[in-house]
Symmetry: C2
Subunit: 286 residues, 2 copies
């Protein structure tokens, strides 16, 4: 099998959008656009579509609809559970400037009677990562992590946690943060791992939106198994990632009142912090 | 002067909204509402309206428009610079559930020809802080900070940085993070301080939206004077604050490519982490 490329990969095919032409009854209002998309079963976990994949679909739509190509800051509120199958994305421009533009997008699926049900709403500001200055004054340090070949791949994951998504990703978890796999969670709110796509597609700004919500939740290692629904996720894409596998860290410091935050950093092979993200999620009952 | 209360204070008067009745040509669409508001000059810095005050205005509108009272997670994109004077807030419901509801709001001001110009767009999910469970598994630690009386109040701030906003707040900066006041910035991306309102109004969920964007920017202490425009700010309100002054920490770890993040924690007098926030801002030229 030929190496997947940006533009020719599972991720690109499954986030491909079909713009509706103005005059098809939709998208005619100034500053708006409408896209059809098929949410692929390949990115589901126990039937629910992965939030990072959904964010990538919406991120691609806004990259098409806005005059700037790259998400600098994007926030998604997850309203109802998405399922694989047909969906519609509607975008709306809020403001365009020389350096930045802001817009919103919603993804809808269909009730039995055909009416649209909103799944996710996104608000984002886009820019051009290639236009950034070279200044770097970062005090953040890349995570200390074992080399990829000493980390745990999908063959280590318990069978009942293997899902369609597992087959699309090349995840290698730092064993120090994956004690839950042996049934001995450490109680610490940390998950770290190497992230890549199974078909070898290189990372870009869009696939970073997948990377920020692709690792097992920190709650597994905190001894709280179960589903962790995302309420809201915000990602800042700070730099175009260099080639090679990404290192992703997820940290939870404040699990309280039935909610928790997951703080995510994504580092590239040049030791640059390429994305920062945080989500608010619902604590599983454990 | 009598002690200000929640509901009777500068902050409450200056965030007060006048709902337009349906039939006044506005707000008639289902799930939408329209409010008039006067942005007070009291919350400006060098003529620009403070972003935390603006977030509080929009947060109050959504608290009125949605069935739940408290912002659990709220994201604002700052599109154009707000000025003191009249403004209009338009809200729209996205989804309502038993425990959470999601909506958006935009604040507009007026061009010379009277057309509306959008200043800020907000997307938020609301809930009821009183309905949260009592579970707490927080590993985050309150900041080590000198007592309030050993911190630097507005009398220590250089006159050219005194603004209308200074008079509305009771800020006391940790001297270790305010070396810029002496013209000797440490270069570290940290600002810490005690936060209160000058008229003594107690803190609540709404005033936390002010607290997350009220301290001097970390760039002052990094030796980069100048304006730091916020692109986007997201705040998670995690708990209703206990009475007494709040401790606020602001940290920047990744200043790169002309942008920086400011990570904010707000702690109450019971050592609870009541709010977490992050903003993406533009690096001043220094």
């Amino acid at each position: 099998m030929a190496q997947a490329t940006i533009g020719n990969s599972e991720f690109d095919r499954d986030t491909a959008l079909r713009p509706r032409m103005p005059g098809e009854g939709d998208g005619a209002a100034p500053g708006t656009a409408v896209y059809d998309v098929d949410l692929s079963e390949g990115w589901t976990i126990l039937g629910a579509v992965n939030g990072g994949y959904l964010l990538s679909v919406l991120g691609r739509a806004l990259g098409d609809a806005l005059p700037h190509p790259d998400p600098f800051t994007i926030t998604a509120h997850y309203l109802t559970t998405s399922r694989s199958g047909p969906a519609v994305v509607r975008t709306q421009m809020a403001r365009t400037g020389r350096r930045l533009s802001t817009g919103q997008a919603s993804l809808f699926q269909f009730a039995e009677d055909g009416t649209e049900v909103e799944r996710i709403r996104v608000l984002a500001t886009y820019g051009d990562l290639d236009a950034l200055t070279d200044d770097v004054r970062t005090t953040a340090k890349p995570p200390a992590m074992p080399p990829l070949e000493h980390c745990l791949g999908s063959d280590a994951v318990p069978p009942h946690l293997i899902s369609e998504l597992t087959g699309r990703l090349d995840l290698r978890l730092d064993p120090a943060t994956a004690n839950w796999i042996k049934g001995e969670p450490s109680g610490r709110g940390e998950t770290r791992g190497w992230f890549g796509l199974a078909d070898g597609r290189p990372a870009d700004a869009l696939s970073l939106l997948l990377a920020v919500d692709a690792l097992p939740p920190t709650t597994f290692e905190m001894g709280l198994p179960g589903w962790v629904p995302t309420v809201e996720l915000t990602a800042h894409i700070r730099r175009r990632p260099a080639p090679g596998p990404l290192r992703v860290t997820v940290t939870t410091r404040n699990l309280a009142g039935g909610f928790l935050e997951e703080d995510v950093e994504v580092w590239d092979t040049e030791d640059r912090l390429v994305a920062q993200a945080r989500q608010l999620a619902v604590t599983p009952r454990g």
